[in-house]
């Protein structure tokens, strides 16, 4: 069959033949042939010290590597149930001691008196997260549409890396920003204005004048999830086939009509998935929220009330949880609850995205 390099050029038949033959041949032959067709045989950074093919048959090595890598992959995949079971196991004492109804709907939180009602904290988390979604979704979707459909190349090239860059800012820095600007802004401007003009709406009425409130947490979280929604939604909208847009434009629709009736309709599921991802991120955020919501254990009834989300509860009390009976079980149960909610949101949105785009 002659020179392997020539066989390679000859196409598939030669290739298959070579694969079979060369699998049994020795390593240096392969090296030489690779050099001939211009592929570097320098083993690279990882290859150099992993090159133990002198001692083991190459196919055995390949099979061993497959086993080992597969083992690692499965082990990491098993982390999800493992985390859930570990938390469940540690939370089990409180699940057997109290009824689920008592835990989820009880409003009494006195660890020393063995009263563990999560209701205020669950409501705190929900209020803050939903507020952040209400604030974050409209502007970030509009931004995503603009960047995907209208923006000139220059602006896109400027805005996208900037947004990616800002997605990396640590949450504690968002918290510092919240304490420095958002909280004073709400205390000095938003709260008095709402007091004067709309205090007849219960949602805007509160006697909390500190500025540390659901609204502050919502605003900080909203800014935190901007990059997530924009990045995913922009990609989904961008991936809508160009033919559909052209068909619509050819029928005389304006660009906005095309977006409204064609593009967004096609991208709807993906956009929803983007929002769900942002929701799960906001839901589990700890540091930034904890610094600005006030941490008063009450179920909030207004945007200006203080709240005490589940994440803040865990983070604030981990220190003493081992010294009070059932306390550790309660806090780890809270972590389990957080994980389950996030899990449901995440799996749904990922499955939607996978069906839609084939990756993510």
């Amino acid at each position: 069959m002659g020179n392997p390099a020539e066989n390679f050029k000859r196409g598939k038949r030669g290739k298959l033949y070579l694969q079979e033959r060369l699998l049994q041949s020795n390593h240096s032959l392969v090296k030489n042939d690779m050099r001939k067709i211009g592929l570097s045989t320098q083993t690279g950074y990882v290859g150099k010290w992993l090159d133990i093919s002198k001692y083991l048959p190459r196919r055995t090595l390949d099979r061993l590597a497959k086993k080992w890598m597969g083992f690692q992959a499965i082990a990491v995949a098993m982390l999800v149930p493992l985390i859930a079971f570990a938390l469940l196991f540690r939370a089990q004492p409180i699940l057997t001691a109290k009824s689920l109804r008592e835990l989820l709907l009880g409003t009494n939180w006195h660890p020393l008196k063995q009263a563990f009602g999560f209701y205020p904290f669950i409501m705190g988390t929900l209020w803050v997260t939903l507020t952040s979604m209400v604030i974050a979704v409209p502007p970030s979707l509009m931004t995503a549409i603009y960047l995907a459909e209208y923006a000139p190349k220059r602006i896109r090239a400027l805005a996208k890396p900037l947004i990616d860059l800002l997605a990396g800012i640590p949450s504690v820095v968002y918290g510092v920003w919240g304490v420095l600007t958002v909280v004073p802004f709400i205390r000095n401007h938003v709260a008095p204005t709402l007091e004067r003009w709309s205090s007849f709406i219960p949602l805007f009425r509160s006697d909390n004048t500190t500025g540390y409130s659901v609204l502050a947490g919502g605003l900080v979280l909203a800014v935190m999830v901007f990059p997530i929604i924009i990045a995913v939604a922009e990609e989904v909208i961008h991936a809508v086939p160009q033919d559909l847009r052209e068909a619509s434009l050819a029928l005389g629709a304006t660009r906005w009509q095309t977006i409204k009736f064609v593009t967004l309709r096609k991208a709807f599921a993906g956009v929803m998935a983007a929002i769900a991802l942002a929701f799960s991120r906001a839901f589990g955020e700890t540091m930034a929220v904890m610094m600005v919501v006030g941490n008063v254990p009450q179920a909030p009834s207004s945007f200006l009330d203080s709240a005490y989300p589940l994440t803040a509860l865990i983070a604030n009390n981990y220190g003493e949880m081992m010294s009070i009976p059932l306390y550790d079980a309660a806090l780890l149960g809270a972590a389990l609850l957080l994980m389950l909610v996030v899990l449901i949101f995440n799996i749904t949105s990922r499955l939607v995205l996978v069906r839609l785009m084939g990756h993510f």
């Binding site: 392969v30 592929l39 890598m69 597969g70 985390i83 931004t143 640590p170 820095v173 800014v223 806090l331």
Partner: protein
């Protein structure tokens, strides 16, 4: 016809306004941190550990937190790299279309979304089982969990970017999948692999909730895997919760340092990715 044009104009205005709003919010954060942090920043902050009464506004710096954070995130990144690369290679070379691959990918995506405080709690449980106290090692374990899915996903994408013909050529010459993976694909994907590692490092160094449980806090430099280690996010948080303005100013300076490290890494990783591409065949 007129109405549709007007509608388009209105919505275009809204879109431009919201883009400007979003970008300015994000830039405002940077501006605030720089504006409040820069005046309080000085060399002794960077080069000293906290002296007595540091949290009352006396002498000292946050070197303990800077070093602690670097050790925590560095250790976690090293561990995560050792686990991520084989998984990424497995996904690409051995489980491209099999259901294993799908399950592992879904699991990684789910792990990506799990809140860091849950990782903290899980690592805490692990530490109880292993009999560890709050320590550098505990923090590294928690951060490794956090960084794993981020890094693996980045590496998977980097490996997918390598031109498939290169792989085919290598196969056709009789190289096994392992040889192709290590000697050709990894080498070609090195810029992407580095970028994803640095991104994961940035994510790890900025995370507070998982370290809170597991690494503890100390005023000393990290010396042992089994002793507590300080970290920058927690230093910021503790300094900010004191009632003294001088200490709070230090919190702003620390926030500036942390932001600088994270953004610097992020920009650097883009640079590296650009620099290393000279050997990459497209």
């Amino acid at each position: 016809m007129k109405a549709t044009k007007v509608e388009e104009k209105i919505f275009l205005t809204i879109m431009i306004c919201s883009t400007v709003f979003v970008l300015s919010c994000l830039i405002l954060i940077l501006a605030t941190v720089i504006w409040r942090g820069l005046p309080a920043l000085n060399l002794s902050m960077l080069l000293q550990t906290p002296k007595g009464g540091f949290y009352l506004g006396k002498e000292g710096g946050i070197l303990n937190a800077i070093m602690g954070s670097l050790f925590l995130a560095g250790g976690a990144t090293a561990l995560a790299m050792a686990i991520s690369l084989p998984i990424a290679l497995f996904l690409h070379f051995y489980a491209k279309r099999s259901w294993h691959g799908g399950v592992v990918r879904l699991a990684l995506d789910v792990l990506w979304g799990i809140p860091s405080i849950v990782y903290g709690a899980f690592a805490f449980i692990l530490m109880l089982w292993l009999g560890l106290r709050a320590s550098l090692l505990g923090g590294i374990i928690a951060l490794t969990f956090l960084e794993l899915p981020i890094m693996t996903r980045g590496m998977d994408e980097a490996i997918n970017m390598v031109h498939p013909l290169l792989k085919e050529s290598s196969y056709s010459l009789g190289a096994t999948r392992l040889e192709t993976a290590l000697k050709i694909v990894v080498r070609q994907a090195i810029p992407g692999l580095l970028t994803s590692s640095l991104l994961a490092f940035g994510r790890g160094i900025g995370d507070a909730a998982s370290v809170l449980f597991t690494a503890g806090f100390t005023d000393h430099l990290p010396t042992s895997l089994f002793k507590p280690a300080a970290s920058l996010p927690l230093a910021i948080f503790f300094q900010l919760s004191t009632p003294f303005p001088a200490v709070q100013n230090r919190a702003y300076a620390s926030a500036l340092i942390l932001t600088g490290i994270v953004l610097g890494l992020s920009i650097m990783s883009r640079r590296i990715a650009g620099r290393l591409t000279e050997h990459v065949i497209r």
